[in-house]
Symmetry: D2
Subunit: 283 residues, 4 copies
């Protein structure tokens, strides 16, 4: 079966966009198998995800961008077309806690997530064992008192691997802005709180001390501001006075893993658009 094409677009809202896009797909020989749209009335913006067949296209699939350019220009669109079945070359950064990393390794191994795991990077040696059990290269980049040097070694490694996706699977070092800027909307971070509550270090300790009755986890694209990037997914679980910080940390692990998997899946399936500091996540 030929892959589907997935078109993600955004533009100022005005009449006729839906008809124009549908018309273009039909006239190109495609059949729309799924379409979802969203209008942000406050900002006057239109967003759409259109998935269509490519096996009867009247032109070569490689020319999709070029053929859509006319429609895009007419409506002032930002548009991005990708073929289904994308399996991004991925680098995972993980510090000591193994669960988020282990979950990605397992899901990639069983095929639950379509990831090509090219490298795992850590500032600690602890996760070498689990990584190597899944035959993924493990790179130990310790800080050793030289944070700037470590960042440069990380940059070099990323430059060599050229990942299409970087997942911070409980990586406890904040990336420098210049490095973040080099991989726009390609870095997903898992923060162990329901942001914007409990930014920064030790969110489970913060949650315990504030006495909240729910804890959460957040997956977001990384931007220069700490824990401030566009949120892709969040989830929470109820807790009680019985849960000390150790227990919050344990319960939170299951949340972090789930939220991470959902966000990575949405990203792989080309279902996420960002608009300012918010996301549109099509279903």
């Amino acid at each position: 079966m030929s892959p589907h094409a997935v078109l993600l677009l955004s533009c100022p809202d005005h009449p006729g966009i839906v008809a124009d896009v549908a018309q273009w797909v039909a006239s190109s020989g495609g059949n729309i198998v799924h379409a979802e749209q969203h209008t942000d009335r406050e900002d006057g913006m239109f967003f759409q995800r259109v998935e269509f067949t490519t096996d009867s296209l009247t032109f070569d699939v490689a020319e999709l961008d070029q053929h859509f350019a006319g429609v895009a220009a007419r409506h002032g669109m930002t548009a991005d077309i990708r073929l289904s079945g994308w399996r991004p070359r991925t680098v995972v950064l993980a510090s000591k806690p193994p669960h988020c990393l282990a979950d990605l390794l397992t899901r990639a191994y069983t095929g639950d997530l379509d990831l090509d795991l090219a490298a795992v990077v850590s500032n600690h040696p602890d996760n070498a064992g689990i990584t190597e059990r899944f035959s993924v290269p493990f790179h130990h980049l310790p800080v050793d008192g030289d944070r700037a040097g470590q960042e440069l070694r990380l940059d070099t490694l990323l430059g060599e691997v050229q990942p299409e996706l970087i997942v911070l699977a409980r990586y406890m070092l904040v990336l420098p802005p210049w490095l973040v800027d080099a991989w726009p909307q390609q870095i997903i971070n898992i923060h162990h709180s329901f942001l914007p509550a409990f930014v920064g270090a030790s969110p489970y300790r913060q949650a315990h001390d504030r006495g909240v009755k729910v804890i959460g986890a957040t997956a977001h694209y990384v931007t220069a501001g700490l824990d401030e990037g566009p949120i892709i997914d969040q989830d929470v679980t109820r807790i009680s006075h019985r849960d000390d910080v150790t227990e919050l940390t344990r319960k939170g692990r299951d949340l972090e893993v789930l939220v991470q998997a959902r966000a990575v899946r949405a990203h792989i399936e080309h279902r996420v658009l960002t608009w300012g500091n918010r996301t549109v996540v099509f279903e």
Copy 2:
């Protein structure tokens, strides 16, 4: 502001439907403000909800059905167009428990749900007080050993009121098939379990005796089969061994009320399509 038109359609899936509908809206002078579609690949069926403006239509809004007829015929569609702001004339049937009824009375009063409550009917007198506090007519139709007679009196009353929506808000008598058939897809029932578990009487007792760890509530269209109609919404809550039948009943009340409100809202907003015994509920 002119109301929006809301078009709900279903038909066998094939290329070109989306473009054709969008083209028809645009050429009619409408602007699509929201569109959602669904393709059931297993059954080869296409479903769509399209909401569009009517203030620049090239024809009278009353002629919408007639103007769409050509598109509908071309694709073998079942289509239903309704204007936004529908406030259905509604009859609520409730036996002794007051919570589902009281919630509808309150939401209609505060404007949370756009309901024109024309009558409350009960086989018990208990809910007369709460109903009359909200100035809604209360009709006491006791069974008094004559079930068939009570059903005829109910039928007469419904014939007089001509409701556009009937809500069984914990009405504990099963309606006879001939009465159900007279109001197709206009009767919503709240069953106090997550169907298909615990059909019939005393579901909280059944749930307790089975030792489940979640209980639920279900809102569904009423069909001739007991608790078997198309499900509109369901929800659940966690319980524990500490919850006896009384406590399950209490916790369940909050679920029933929420599920009822969501289902009624979806129905009012013309977001529900049925297909066989299932529903498509657009968001």
Copy 3:
């Protein structure tokens, strides 16, 4: 049936407390029907809720405090004994939004919550209608440019009613510290966010602008710090990019109502202990 006695106690943890309390109940002629305890190991504190029968007590039920005083002194306890079936004289403060108030009125009317609603107070006239439908006195205390004067009139009213519980059911004015201090742990506020996120005004607008994927509601005891008191209950619901501020506000209403009812119920049933800025909520 005689009421049960409900003993809530807290003290520094050490061996023998459970045995000593159980022994005291048994020797007093009571039978423990429910007991729950919690040890905060970090703070070295012990908390317990013990519910026991009173129909075979060897002394008058009015002497419970006095008879327990020896045990309390031996362990340095803070202890509070209340008989079951408490139906607190309650004042509800509500500004314009009617849903939290309407829910309390309905639950009190149907008996779902054991509240003696003595008065509803508002700085707006809007909720007079719904309040009077339930035959509860409504007091309109407008600010009219004189905030301090309004607070004094509120204080006078509370002094006359002598409530045992005050619920801020979406009351949009911050109470002055001197008034809060006069009713320690008797004022429950509903804040329409999952605190500590989105403190202060317009939390749904804040949530929308941050682009979160869950919204929440929080019930907490009121202290001098804005939205900073001990949290009794919280809950959340998933949202998506489709939800604008109006829709968040609508979805949030159902959360606020539920969280408010759960917190009020826990308070009435004498299940809440506070410890610093946190709560122990027994089940």
Copy 4:
């Protein structure tokens, strides 16, 4: 640190049990660090879990059962004492789907679950790879047209390994009653529906065809009746018309894994009592 002792007991309810048990712990030199109790008033039964320190016991820890025997006899108790830190020798049975097995392997590896994985058994070869990556012995026991023979080979294997816990991590063959009876309350099964809905084969297909709006997963002790044993834990997730059977299966995987982990954890921590076909799961 000495391990804690964990006492699980049940008996007909009557006055004085709590005091008697607490008294016994205190007089034995133990300090209660956690206690939870439950009274089933309908059945007149009392259940308790008491966790206490053992480092100052006045007798050898191995004599706990013997020293408690007097208390147990006095109240007609069924009692079971286990030391904390139990790490049961475990056999996992899994057919083709890898996710439940992979999750147990990962949690055992990272220490999230305290399991001594002694063997993985399957009627298919598919899971050999993932099992061996975690250095756990894999036993392929194919049916090959001889179901009775396969059951005998499984019985032999279990007899050799002498597991303290058997987890059916999506094992698609029903165990024969004689084998189930040999391991009472030691076999936990994960069924991929919220029982009692959708018993038996293909529950996601059944759920799809019924058109439910939530799907679930259930962990229960295995008894002779198919999917009818005492439920330890259940959870659900919302679905919509967009989810076909493949998508239900995918979303269900995350539920199954979570419910399995929670049930296994409760079992390991000696927090589950069964009473008839129900469980008491202390927290």
